[in-house]
Amino acid sequence: MKRKEYWNQKEMSYWEKLYYLEIARGLWVTFSVFIKNLYKWCTGKKGALTVYYPEERRSDYASNFRGKHKLTILENGRPKCIACKMCENICPSKSIKIVAGKSPDEKDSYSLKIPLSFDLDYASCIFCGHCVEICPKDAIIMTNDVSELPTYAREKLLYSLSDLLESKKDA
């Protein structure tokens, strides 16, 4: 079957060459959309398809959307992270900074290293998920949540250990 060719083929008809009738048709399209949206606005409904973003969030994020990091914890409340710095090294945008330290419990059966601080800079994070894949202990995971990206100060995008750690209730 021969494919249809659309480009540079169509000749304008006599009426189309008069411009004004076609312009009137185009104006009617935009004007009817305007009136429709005005009516919706007057009756208190939302006419716009766009979302008033930071105040209003879309509910139809995909189920496999990964928008926020989370540090998982053990049952006793200790973070699963063993401060191996694998994620810090693989991070392509160098957004993760970990300071490792000794565990206060000297006979810790899980790991003797704990993260003293775990900083994740959302200003440079590209949400590639490499940190999640490389983690040997599944300590860092990504959730379906949306991180609070729109802020007035860059410092607010620097998330610390306490911001990223999941609470005991979630576990």
């Binding site: 004004y20 185009g26 959309v33 305007f34 766009t50």
Partner: protein, 369 residues
């Protein structure tokens, strides 16, 4: 003498407030109207925080005009190194001043007798609500609107920038081409009303025709003339679909590429003020000016008329301005050759034919009376 001065001063004040206020409002209307036509929300970020009670007053984004002004004023006033400094600084004013001047000729109300309301200070005096009641008003409006093009060409030339120069060359050819059609489009109405005086035209449009069905407005007398005028005027104002002098996607910003801050704002503001002027001329020529159809309220409420006339005029002008913005957000841009072909081969012959038909019609009517 002092009474004349006071009245003229009040008229000038009203004209300034109406023209500049409406132009500022139109920047908001343009954003909001285009947003509603495209299923968007539109300008809504700017707010004024009321002190103490911590309420953010957004007012549908009306404060964006104020924010625009503040932003423009705080921008750097840049002059290119090799620019012709004098002409570079002069050009925005040559574009802006004629637009303000044109409003002096627009009548926004009928004849008032201030003595009836304000007492003996104005004893025995009658004023037409028009800053400059000139006999050849229509001619002078066309003449003043022709000055704008000098500013546009100067701006492009003085900037010493190839995009500016291209823009001003395009503007020169476009505006001169469409000025012919603009002048010819108003001629049939001058023939119909038998006068060049704008107030006489409005008086001629009172009453009704076809046995009281339609008001005797110019748009019903000769719809084709109204369409030709609006087309040519939009081209004169360099707005989409005729915006090739400042086509953003082709030559950055055209003739005002090198302008920044408040000087750039003058060009933009002149554009919006010219929308208002075009609407004013359209209302005077084709929509019966400050009068309402079917109801002569000035006869029944002579005192109220002093407020009602300007109000009705303002509402009519606002509606026509909104229509121009609707056109701007609906149509794509003409190509350069399409633009000139449309101007010289379609619009100009159409205007000629229109004049011939109107003249023949008027001749027949006069012959059979």
């Amino acid at each position: 003498m002092i009474a004349d001065l006071v009245v003229t001063f009040v008229f000038i004040l009203f004209a300034m407030v109406m023209l500049l206020g409406l132009a500022t409002l139109l920047t908001w209307v343009e954003r909001k109207l285009s947003a509603m036509m495209a299923d968007r929300i539109g300008a809504n970020r700017c707010y004024v925080k009321i002190p103490l009670i911590n309420v953010k007053l957004i007012a549908l984004g009306l404060f964006h005009a104020m924010a625009d002004g503040l932003k423009m004023m705080s921008k750097e006033r840049f002059i290119p190194k090799d620019a012709d400094k004098f002409l570079f600084l002069l050009a925005p004013w040559i574009v802006f001043a004629p637009v303000l001047l044109m409003f002096a000729l627009i009548p926004f109300g009928g004849i008032i007798y201030p003595e009836k309301i304000f007492g003996s200070f104005f004893a025995g005096k009658a004023y037409l609500m028009q800053i400059a009641p000139l006999d050849g008003g229509a001619l002078i409006i066309l003449a003043i609107s022709g000055i704008c093009i000098i500013g546009v060409v100067l701006a492009g030339w003085a900037s010493n920038n190839k995009y500016s120069l291209l823009g001003s060359i395009r503007a020169a050819s476009q505006m001169i081409s469409y000025e012919v059609a603009l002048g010819l489009s108003l001629l049939p109405m001058v023939l119909t009303y038998g006068s060049l005086d704008l107030h006489t035209m409005i008086v001629a449009q009172q009453g009704s025709m076809l046995g009281g069905v339609l008001p005797a407005w110019g748009i019903f007398l000769s719809p084709l003339t109204a369409i030709i005028y609006l087309t040519a005027a939009t081209a004169e104002n360099k707005r989409i679909p005729f915006d090739i002098p400042e086509a953003e996607s082709e030559i950055i910003a055209g003739f005002f590429t090198e302008y920044s801050g408040m000087r750039m704002a003058l060009f933009m503001f002149a554009e919006f003020a010219e929308i208002v002027i075009i609407s004013c001329v359209f209302v005077v020529f084709f929509l019966g000016g400050y009068n309402l159809p079917y109801w002569d309220f000035a006869g029944s409420f002579p005192r109220l008329a002093i407020v009602l006339w300007p109000t009705i005029f303002f509402i009519k002008v606002f509606i026509v301005s909104c229509f121009q913005i609707l056109v701007r957000w609906s149509l794509p841009r003409f190509r350069y050759d399409q633009l000139l072909t449309f101007g010289w081969k379609f619009l100009l012959p159409l205007a000629m034919v229109n004049i011939t038909v109107v003249t023949l019609f008027l001749w027949l009517v006069q012959k059979h009376q």
